[in-house]
């Protein structure tokens, strides 16, 4: 009977729409920045497949993590813990969408992009969710690769080949993920502790996590500058990113040197929100520059 209570909206929220929106956006940047021509309709299909693949990953992640989701404050309102969608149904939904997105991408766009989409889904579910998440505090460092693939898939969908540019886009997201996610983990470390997930704040302690956040923020800041040095972006990009980097490092520094736990949580939340804004702006500037370049 539970499956009849579920609505279309529940299935939609099972796909983690907020994560999906960032994936679509970064993939779009990959498509637009690629020098090869792609028919707008084919580009639309590629984005749709990437979005569906990302949604499928979200569904399968919720299917596997249903046992811990129902114990965590942050995830207790997801459709499976609420009993709106049975686990088996979520699994079927996720598998169908995974295979569907890969095959449609292969048939209608190209098989290189489809192969990368398949690798991304596999990486997120098997490597990150099933293998690493419950075993090592480095889970998000390695698992972050899954979230960094979309611009590469977008680039491949458009050009069918790889070069330094999509690798830089990949590296920006890959290096950004630990600082972003550990800021969240600091804020809700009690939640993760309760369910036994070895997030960095629970295994290495708050001080070590804050130091590592700062290190990753500095690395990300340097990587984010690299598009300018490989002629992917203009001097306007460089100036904007220098400003964004300064705020990113400043917030990370402030978090590192803060002693009171309450203030740390407050700052961690602030850094988490800023990191989303930071990544969005990097890709937005790259997107705008690519569009302007194509118009001139």
């Amino acid at each position: 009977m539970t499956d009849q209570i579920s609505t279309v909206n529940d299935f939609y929220s099972l796909m983690k729409p907020r994560v999906m929106s960032l994936v679509i956006f970064t993939a779009l940047v990959g498509i637009v920045m690629s020098p090869a021509y792609i028919h707008p309709f084919t580009a639309f299909i590629a984005l749709l497949c990437i979005a569906t693949g990302a949604g499928a990953s979200g569904v399968l992640n919720m299917w596997y993590d249903a046992d811990i989701d129902k114990k965590m404050k942050r995830t207790i309102n997801r459709p499976i813990p609420l009993g709106l969608i049975p686990r088996s149904e979520a699994f079927t939904f996720g598998i169908v969408m995974s295979f569907g997105s890969v095959f449609v991408m292969g048939i209608l766009v190209n098989w290189y992009a489809a192969a990368f989409l398949a690798i991304t889904i596999f990486f997120y579910i098997v490597i990150y969710t099933i293998w690493l998440k419950r075993r090592t505090p480095q889970n998000i460092v390695i698992g972050g690769a899954a979230g960094a693939f979309p611009p590469v898939i977008g680039w491949l969908a458009s050009s069918g080949s790889l070069s330094i540019e999509p690798i830089i886009l990949f590296l920006i997201i890959f290096m950004w993920t630990p600082a972003h996610f550990w800021a969240l983990a600091l804020d809700i470390s009690d939640d993760y502790k309760k369910v036994g997930i070895p997030m960095m704040p629970n295994t290495a302690g708050s001080k070590s996590t804050r130091r590592q956040i700062l290190v990753y923020a500095i690395i990300t800041s340097f990587v984010a500058l690299s598009p300018f040095f490989v002629n992917m972006a203009s001097v306007y990009y460089l100036i904007s990113i220098l400003l964004l980097d300064f705020i990113f490092i400043f917030l990370s520094c402030k978090l590192y040197y803060t002693d009171t736990i309450e203030l740390q949580k407050k700052l961690a939340k602030k850094l988490f929100i800023y990191s989303i804004f930071y990544l969005f702006l990097i890709f937005a500037i790259l997107l705008i520059e690519a569009i302007v370049k194509s118009l001139i």
């Binding site: 009849q4 579920s6 609505t7 279309v8 209608l108």
Partner: protein, 51 residues
């Protein structure tokens, strides 16, 4: 109690119907997408070819 069960069934039926409509829309959308992509790949001139 009976009324409550009836309204619950009605909600369940309505949800089921909406999900069926959503699946139908997705399938129809896929058909359109495959058709349009075929046209784009082959090109509009396919209708003017010599048989």
């Amino acid at each position: 109690m009976k009324n409550h069960t009836n309204s619950k069934n009605e909600v369940a039926l309505k949800n089921q119907r909406l999900k069926s409509i959503a699946i139908a829309c997705i399938l129809f959308f896929l058909v359109v997408v495959f058709f349009l992509t075929t046209v784009i790949r082959i090109g509009g001139n396919i209708t003017e070819r010599i048989l």
